[in-house]
Structures are given as C-alpha cells and as structure tokens.
C-alpha cells in the first residue's frame, strides 16, 4: 500500500523544499501526491532482490584534470545577476541573532 500523504506530511516536505502551500493549493498538492504515489506503486510488482541500484549512466570514470586556477568568471560578472548586492557582496537579510 502506498503511504498516505496528509496535511502534516505536506507541511514537513514543503519546509524541507523551502516552499509553502496554503488553502486550495495545499489540498491540490495532497491529492496530486497521493495520486502519483498510487501510480508508482506498480514498481513493487517487480522483484528486484539482488539487483544493484543503477547510479551512474555515464561510462566515464574518475575523469580528472589538472588542478589549475583559471579565472573564467570575474567577480563583476558573478554579481551581475544578483537581485541585491553591495560592492563585492550579495546582500541577504540579517542571519545572526539579534
């Protein structure tokens, strides 16, 4: 049986994903997640005992390169898209306690 997604599961997941769902959108996501989890339940029909998980698709192994410093993005460029910046830095709300 697929686990049932409840309001409290959605609250917990939303916090982990740094999203928020309220009112109608919360009811909708609960319904959709339950629907999708019911659909993927199908996989349990397949016996995968002893099958190793497939974790890498590329056949490249330890593709190493020389550890050289290359300046390919300037600080100016890196800050170009920042919504708020201050000379050399990204500006964010205060993170240290009062």
């Amino acid at each position: 049986m697929a686990p049932v997604i409840t309001e409290s599961t959605v609250d917990k997941l939303a916090h982990l994903a740094r999203l928020s769902f309220e009112g109608e959108s919360k009811q909708k996501i609960i319904k959709d997640l339950n629907n999708i989890l019911g659909f993927v339940e199908k996989l349990n029909e397949l016996d995968t005992e002893g099958v190793p998980a497939l974790t890498h698709i590329s056949s490249e192994i330890n593709n190493l390169r020389e550890d050289k410093v290359i300046q390919n993005i300037t600080r100016e460029d890196a800050l170009k898209n920042a919504p708020k910046k201050d000379s050399f830095y990204f500006r964010v709300p205060k993170v240290i306690g009062e």
Partner: protein
C-alpha cells in the same frame, strides 16, 4: 524563398550567389513577426542576427565560410548564450542573463551559426505539452487549437513553421522527440553524455541531454558532429571518439531491427499510429532490412521509474534557486528562511513545485529505499533488458507517442495522464541510449505521426543512416 531542407542546400545557394545571409535572416524575421501568435519565441535578437548575417556575407565573399555559415537557429530557453537572457520559461529566473556560453553553443558559434532568439518551453523542461511555461503555451502550426508537445515545444514549432532553420532542445524523458513527433520534424536525442551539459540548465542530471530539432537527418548529423565530444567543463561527458556523422549517413546500409509486440498491442495507442507503425514495418521488409517482433514486458514500469528518479534529481538541482544570488527575490521579507520560501513559492509554477515535492518525498528519511533506490534498481533492469534486445538487433522500433498532438487543455487536469505521454520515449532516457523521432504518415485529422528508433550507446551514425533512408520532411 525556397523552402530549404538542409544546411548543405542553403550553403550551395550561398556559394552560387543565389541568396545572401541577410536575405535569409530577413525572411525568418518576417515569418517570426507574421506568426508571433504561435508563441514559439520568447526573445528575438533582430539587430544582432542582421549584423551577424552581414559579417557572414563578407566571409562568403572572402572564401571563409564556416561549416554553419547561413544557418539561422533558435535555442530552447534552457541553454546558455553569453550576455543573453535565459530563464527556463520560469518566473524565478526573471531578468537573468547568462554570463557564459554553453559548450554546445560555443562550438556552433565557432562554425558561424546565427542565433536568432530563444524559444519557449515547459518550465525547467518539465512537461509534455508546453502548457507549463510562465510565458504561455505554444500553438501547433498544423492545427493551432492543438499543443506543440513539450517540453521543447517552441523549438519544434519554430522549425515546423519555418521561423528558423533548426533549433536546439533538451531531452530528459522525451522532450525533443515528442514535440518533434507532434510537429512532423526530426528530433534527435543523442546518447547520454555524448554532448557536454555545461550551460544546460539542469533538470535531472542523469538523464538530461541536448538534442536537435531539424527538417532533415543530414542536419541532425552535422549539428551533432559539431557539438559532441570531450569538454573540460563536464566531467561526465564521454571521451569516446566522435564519428563524422554527416558522412556516416551515406551510403544506405541494411540493418536488423526489433519491434516490441506488446507496445503495438497496447490499448492506449491510437489506431492511426499503430497502422503507420505496421506500414513502416512492411516498408523495412520491402527495402530488405530484417525486422522481427520481440517481447518486452516492462512498459508499465517505465514512466513510474522515470518520475521517481527525475523528481528526486530535480528537487536537488532546483534547490539552487533561492532568490539570493540571481533571479527573482520576493519583496519585503526580512528573514532568510521566509525569503527562500516566498521567493521559491512565487517563482516556481505548479508543475515544478509538484515535482520538487515528489522528489523531496522520495528522498526523505524512511522512504528513500522504498522509492528512490527501488527505482534505481528497476532502472538497471530496464537498461539490461533493453541492451539484451540490442545485443541481437541494431535498433528497436516503437511509435514516439501513444497519440498525435492533443487539444490545448486536454490533459492539464491530471498529471498522471500527462506523464503517460512519455510512455514510449522514457525507455531510451532510462537506458541512456540514443533515439530519434522521425515523421512517418499522418492520422485521420492530418496530424503528423512520429516513429522512434533507439540503438546502442554511441551508434548515432548508424541510427541516422537508417532514418535518412526514409525521411522526407514536407
């Protein structure tokens, strides 16, 4: 203006002075304006395209043509082009301009490609109808009440409606092949790792690959040849030798092909698509290829496996959009955690949030083994069983999609129904193998049908050789 099918036809006319690059660009710019309501382009770089064409015309005069001189191309809005906007059709990247070129783009530019604009797509490439874009849906040029397919919907329609000659897309579970099929053009998803992913906005990193939407197989071969190969900026890109695909497609060779019997018997598949698949099977026999039916009882497991793995990868990849360093930041929030939450909640669309939530769930404590690891195991089973068929056959033939282009709004209410659009395309994505969709026949509403061929890793030369024997785009 002649309706050019290939870059080589364009270059022949350029060399023989029957046309200039400026004339070509002006032709496309006019078409883009006339057909603006299709909503394929998000931005058109008009002045740049004209000035590029002028320089290209000079190069032709001086006998310095690049391999892509005269090619006017569009980029899906997930591919970085330096000093140009790119935002994955998402509000969360409003105002973002790329500070570097994707490796694929860099290599095309080195051959003098002329990039005319960026193309609409499903937000973060998540969708099968281009209805998940923050910029609205794209209309299919054959029937404007129907979807373009997705997620590379703008790329497919731009080529279908001749708004540019070719386009780049990206394919994670069918996002190049399915819209190509809905629009009657050629869509190539190369082997995973064949083209560098540097500068491709990440959705699911163990699946994502840049692909091409073209009117001819010849163009797909040439573009792949130019873009493929080793790159310092992507440690997963394959170091295996890049074939000269544009030469590999000729002369025509004979192949051994399998079709999967259960797929054709599947009740979800549209009658005309079954008929055209059967017609193609007969045609292969007539042309002295070997074609045989095989069993592959895993169809129902593919889409669930695909969604568990890609949403997990997406939830990690999309964690970077926090509103701090780039993109859209929520206004008036003075506390960091709420700033993340508000920026992300406002910036992402519904489908993207749904996938992040599902991905977060499958990776969460207590559920990871039952969902994520289980899906990785099934992925191995599907890959191994697919490779078993490809040990005996050169290619596997399937339809690209279970239906032809559906009506706008037809599947937007039920995510699972939309996910089943990918039923035939995710197999190649799960296995990491190359696949191509090509137009073959029409249904009773005159909508294009696409068939798909998949092959072994890095067999693009042979794959395109076979398809080239049958493709004649209108």
């Amino acid at each position: 203006m002649t309706h050019y099918l290939s870059i080589s036809e364009i270059q022949k006319d350029l060399r023989e002075k029957r046309i200039t690059c400026v004339e070509l660009v002006n032709y496309f710019l006019t078409r883009i304006k006339e057909l603006k309501h299709l909503n394929a382009f998000l931005d058109v770089y008009e002045e740049e395209a004209i000035s590029h064409a002028k320089k290209s015309d000079e190069k032709i005069k001086n006998g310095q043509m690049g391999r892509l001189t005269g090619l006017v191309m569009g980029l899906k809005d997930v591919i970085c082009y330096k000093n140009h906007p790119v935002q994955a059709s998402s509000k969360i990247l409003n105002g973002f301009h790329s500070i570097y070129n994707a490796t694929a783009v860099e290599r095309l530019l080195n051959e003098d490609v002329n990039i005319i604009g960026r193309l609409n797509c499903d937000e973060f490439a998540m969708g099968a109808s281009n209805e998940n874009s923050a910029f609205g849906h794209v209309h299919n040029f054959v029937d404007e009440t129907r979807v373009s397919g997705g997620s590379s919907g703008g790329s497919a329609v731009a080529v279908q409606a001749n708004l540019c000659h070719a386009a780049l897309g990206s394919d994670t579970g069918g996002s190049v092949r399915q819209p190509a099929s809905f629009c009657g053009i050629v869509g190539l998803k190369p082997t995973y790792s064949r083209i560098s992913r540097y500068g491709l906005i990440a959705y699911a990193s163990s699946f994502d690959i840049i692909g091409t939407l073209t009117k001819s197989v010849e163009d797909a071969a040439l573009l792949l040849e130019i873009m493929a190969g080793k790159d310092e900026y992507d440690s997963t890109v394959s170091s295996s030798e890049v074939q000269q695909y544009s030469k590999e497609i000729l002369p025509a060779k004979k192949y051994k092909i399998a079709y999967i019997k259960d797929y054709l018997e599947n009740p979800a598949i549209n009658f005309s698509i079954r008929r055209e698949t059967e017609n193609f099977i007969s045609l292969l026999k007539d042309r002295k290829h070997t074609i045989e039916g095989v069993d592959f009882p895993f169809l129902d497991y593919m889409v669930p496996t695909y969604y568990l793995l890609t949403t997990a990868e997406a939830s990690a990849n999309l964690a970077r959009y926090d509103g701090l360093r780039y993109g859209q930041r929520a206004e008036g929030i003075h506390e960091l955690e709420n700033l993340y939450k508000k920026s992300r909640t406002e910036g992402f669309g519904e489908e993207v949030k749904r996938r992040i939530m599902l991905g977060t769930f499958v990776l969460s404590e207590g559920f990871q083994d039952a969902y994520f690891t289980k899906a990785q195991k099934v992925r191995r089973v599907i890959k191994d069983k697919t490779m078993e068929i490809l040990a005996d056959y050169d290619f596997i033939l399937t339809p690209t999609t279970p239906s032809t282009a559906f009506k706008l709004g037809e599947h937007t209410q039920d995510p699972v129904q939309m996910y089943l659009q990918d039923i035939f395309t995710v197999q190649a994505s799960l296995a990491g193998i190359p696949a191509v969709s090509f137009p073959f026949g029409k249904d009773d509403d005159n909508l294009p049908i696409g068939l798909q061929l998949m092959g072994r890793e890095f067999c693009e030369g042979d794959l395109l050789n076979l398809v080239n024997q049958f493709v004649n785009c209108p």
